[in-house]
Subunit: 194 residues, 2 copies
């Protein structure tokens, strides 16, 4: 099905252009014309592949999330067989945090997308689904650690802390050192309560 493959490749090319524009100039700079110029295609071409800005943004987020997940899965695989819940969780959470250029670019776009969806409830559905899945995975690891009184609540708090640390890192409120120290203290409280 070469037609299908082309379609996906072209959509991904446009999504990458949107991502670059958003990471460098913010989501408010994302317009049909701007994205078309960055992707080096016509505005008609962009409109052919995406009917609305919401659709284009949702697809762009899905593409970068897939890449981020692949990166984190690879890091987790490098931990070797049965590393235990805490190292797995730390690898996952630090993989999401904006600590290098690639994840910082991702984080800036994700934050802008979160802000965008906060005033457009219908656009938030894919993000909600993703949080739900991530929360289930994190809760499983917290539960298997065995020390948390309320593993679901501890998992929700840990995920929220990761999200907030990301926001503070992106805004330069926290240094990477402060963020990692806070994350490790949080993991200590969950896995090794005094």
């Amino acid at each position: 099905m070469p037609k299908q493959v082309d379609h996906r490749a072209r959509r991904t090319q446009i999504a990458d252009a949107l991502f670059r524009v958003a990471a460098e100039q913010g989501l408010e700079a994302v317009s049909l014309r701007h994205v078309a110029a960055a992707a080096e295609v016509s505005t008609g071409m962009v409109q052919h592949y995406f009917r609305t800005k919401d659709e284009m943004m949702a697809f762009a987020m899905a593409v970068v999330q897939e890449r981020q997940q692949a990166r984190i899965t690879e890091r987790m695989a490098r931990l070797g067989a049965d590393p235990g819940p805490r190292p797995m969780l730390r690898t996952l959470l630090t993989g999401v945090l904006p600590l290098d250029d690639e994840s910082r670019a991702y984080g800036r776009v994700a934050l802008a997308f979160l802000a965008y969806t906060a005033v457009r409830a219908e656009a938030a559905a894919p993000l909600r689904e993703q949080t739900r899945e991530l929360l289930g995975f994190v809760a499983g690891l917290v539960r298997s650690g065995g020390a948390a009184k309320d593993p679901d609540a501890a998992a929700a708090g840990l995920l929220a802390a990761m999200e907030g640390l990301g926001v503070y890192l992106l805004g330069g409120h926290f240094t990477p050192e402060v963020a990692l120290r806070a994350l490790d203290a949080h993991l200590d409280m969950i896995f090794d309560p005094a």
Copy 2:
């Protein structure tokens, strides 16, 4: 100094208009013309009071933050004399969380502003200063609770969790019940470790 008072009042009127536009339609809808229309003044008037969009946004954030602080200070005062660090902290954190219409509107704008400043480092300075002050206050309360191994790191993690819970509440990822349960589990870990 009636001239000074007028100046402040007019700036606040414009900031309120910006806030309404941003809360309802997102920060990307904030334009000179849009804000002027919402404030029922001319675009020339807006330009007279604010030279740049950054300046206008920073002032609007400062105005709503002052109001939010006043609201939280009032709630804390209602706790009575010497309520102890945990109830004070819970009142502070739940006061910031977007759990009612007023704080949801504030949260939406704050999130948009965070996303905006993530690609404009210079506009983030007032927010960083605010986080630094808040972190110092929270760390003092955590320290006086006496149970945290690393009070500064625990305070940073708690503040990050509050920020992340806010993001998840605004996006409808977490219900208020889930967010409050996560917050209380987090406070348990800090003040009553098993």
